[in-house]
Amino acid sequence: MIRFLAQRTAQAAVVLLLVSVIVFVLLHQLPGGPARAILGPRATPQAVEHFDHQQGYDLSLPLQYVHYLGRLLTGDLGESYKLNQTVTALLADRLPKTLVLTGLSIALAAVLAVPLGVLQAVRRGGIADHLLTGVAFLAYATPVFFLGLVLILVFSQRLQLFPAEAPQADTVGGILSAPSALVLPVVTLALGIVAAFSRYTRSAVLDNLSEDYVRTARAKGQSNARIMARHVLRNALIPLAGLLGLYLPTLFSGALVVESMFNYPGMGLLFWNAAQGSDFPVLLGVTLLVGVATVLGSLLTDIAYAALDPRIRSVS
């Protein structure tokens, strides 16, 4: 297992490096070059030249990358020229709130998806299975923003149950103290993932049900319910931990849309506003952070997977 983990960590490091390269490349695609992007289109040529020299943009590309990497490692992501704060500070403020949103959504999705998936597998081919499959497909086909709009229309405008705007607090504590305003954003984000998770659970359980060891368990006299609980689920759900890592990009994308729709003060909204205002340092900073978060998140779920599966835990 150590070997497996060492390998995965080394891979993650390489990927992180590549992510920084991608962002760096994007940085240089900005219209007019990074200088103009940051200083604005009306900057004088002398200001641009001065900026370039100061920031090292007149050096060769590889050297620039090295400088860039150096800056990254010291936490310098530049400054937002619209909001007058360093990008790092902005991210530090917004990231925890996004994590709250995504964390709650994952938890809700898992709690809903696993029982649904098991139900579908056990009653395979029945009405419940077909119905739920159809719902899962429709959920997958529904863009997050449409889902959110529908939820807002129904629960906020018509039924007046939940507010259409997320809590506007600055701190995590503040966010959590207004639960009713959290409902719609969390549910919107969760529903997009529930479909995929329940489909996965269904097929994993079905695959395991046809394995020989289930037949052995029946030959010992176990009841179907106990077989499901004691034998099948642990084999089917272990890979779910690994699956989570795969879904992080989707989650973050969803968070981007949900935050902008519900005005939730997280990273997604920050990103969205920056896109509107062409605030490139923020845009790139968030992109980089999301990339890093995804890679680290995948690594963590891989570690969890290895810890849970005895076949990986103890190499024979």
Partner: protein
């Protein structure tokens, strides 16, 4: 014929009849799998709606008419009402669909093509080539597609072609990973070994043995890629980063709809949203049906041994 042969002439007669080709098997899905059939019907209907509709019922989708803004459905001449800029809703729905479908189809197919070859090569050759190729895909995958798309769209003003290219450039990752997995599994198969023993090389292996044997996965994945591409277009235009107005798109229609949720102008929201859901769901049902069909064939083959 040798003695051994004549004794067994009767044996070969009991072998099953020839298998129908791939296309016929794929089409047979639609006769058996009801959701797939529904999906296909819906898809054909929607395509007719979007491409033939404006020919049958032409409407003006370039000139605004604020005097007729926000009319509810049922108003004379506007069965689905009008948008906030006075465009006829039904007509706009049709032309908006054209963009979504064209870009979605093109981007999805392009992504599948690139991804398939990339993944098959990586999986078959393995070693450091595979490791390098996969780290690259990992890196691009790490950054959520939407974020990348937004950044790129902010830099470049998209036209249809550019939109196709940038969507394909994030969508190729999924088929690449899938095909790599398939190639890894297939390259250890005895028939690949047998081909190498005959003296065959890598190109033959990838294009004659690996990709054809993974064609089921490729086709199924293509349908999902098209579905995803249509979703990406919708997201991008919802965020205002797609082809600029007066070009119509379901996503941008929805983004204008947000402003009017509080006053309940539901006809600005539901028609384009439902249209997106229908198209994407249709492709997904078709893809799922195809996957079952290809799997079933493999299962039956396995049992025949």
């Amino acid at each position: 014929m040798t003695a051994a042969g004549s004794v067994n002439a009767s044996a070969s007669v009991s072998a099953a009849a020839a298998t129908p080709g791939l296309a016929r098997r794929a089409l047979s899905v639609f006769t058996r799998d009801k959701p797939a059939l529904t999906g296909a019907v819906v898809l054909v209907a929607l395509m007719a709606f979007c491409f033939l509709g404006p020919l049958i019922r032409p409407t003006d989708q370039t000139h605004t008419d604020l005097s007729r803004a926000n009319l509810p459905p049922g108003s004379p001449g506007h069965p689905l009402g009008t948008t906030d800029l006075g465009y006829d809703m039904l007509g706009r729905l049709m032309t908006g669909g054209q963009t979504s479908l064209e870009v979605g189809l093109a981007a999805g197919l392009l992504a599948t093509l690139i991804g398939t070859v990339y993944g098959a090569v990586a999986g078959y050759f393995g070693g450091w080539l595979d490791a390098a190729m996969m780290r690259i895909t990992d890196a691009v995958l790490a950054i959520p597609a939407l974020f990348l798309l937004v950044v790129v769209a902010t830099i470049v003003t998209p036209s249809k072609a550019v939109l196709i290219l940038i969507i394909a450039s994030v969508a190729w990752l999924s088929p690449a990973r899938l095909l790599r997995g398939e190639a890894l599994a297939l390259r250890g198969r005895d028939y690949v070994h047998a081909m190498r023993l005959m003296g065959g090389g890598g190109a033959r292996a990838v294009f004659r043995h690996i990709v054809p044997n993974a064609i089921g996965t490729v086709i199924v994945n293509a349908t999902f890629q098209i579905a995803d591409a249509i979703l990406y277009v919708a997201y991008l235009s919802f965020l205002g980063l797609s082809i600029p107005p007066p070009a119509a798109d379901w996503g941008s229609m929805l983004s204008t709809g947000i402003t009017y949720t509080q006053v309940g102008y539901w006809w600005l929201i539901f028609p384009p949203g439902i249209a997106v859901v229908l198209v994407v769901a249709a492709f997904t049902f078709i893809g799922d049906g195809l996957r079952d069909a290809f799997d079933a064939r493999l299962q039956r083959l396995g049992r025949n041994g």
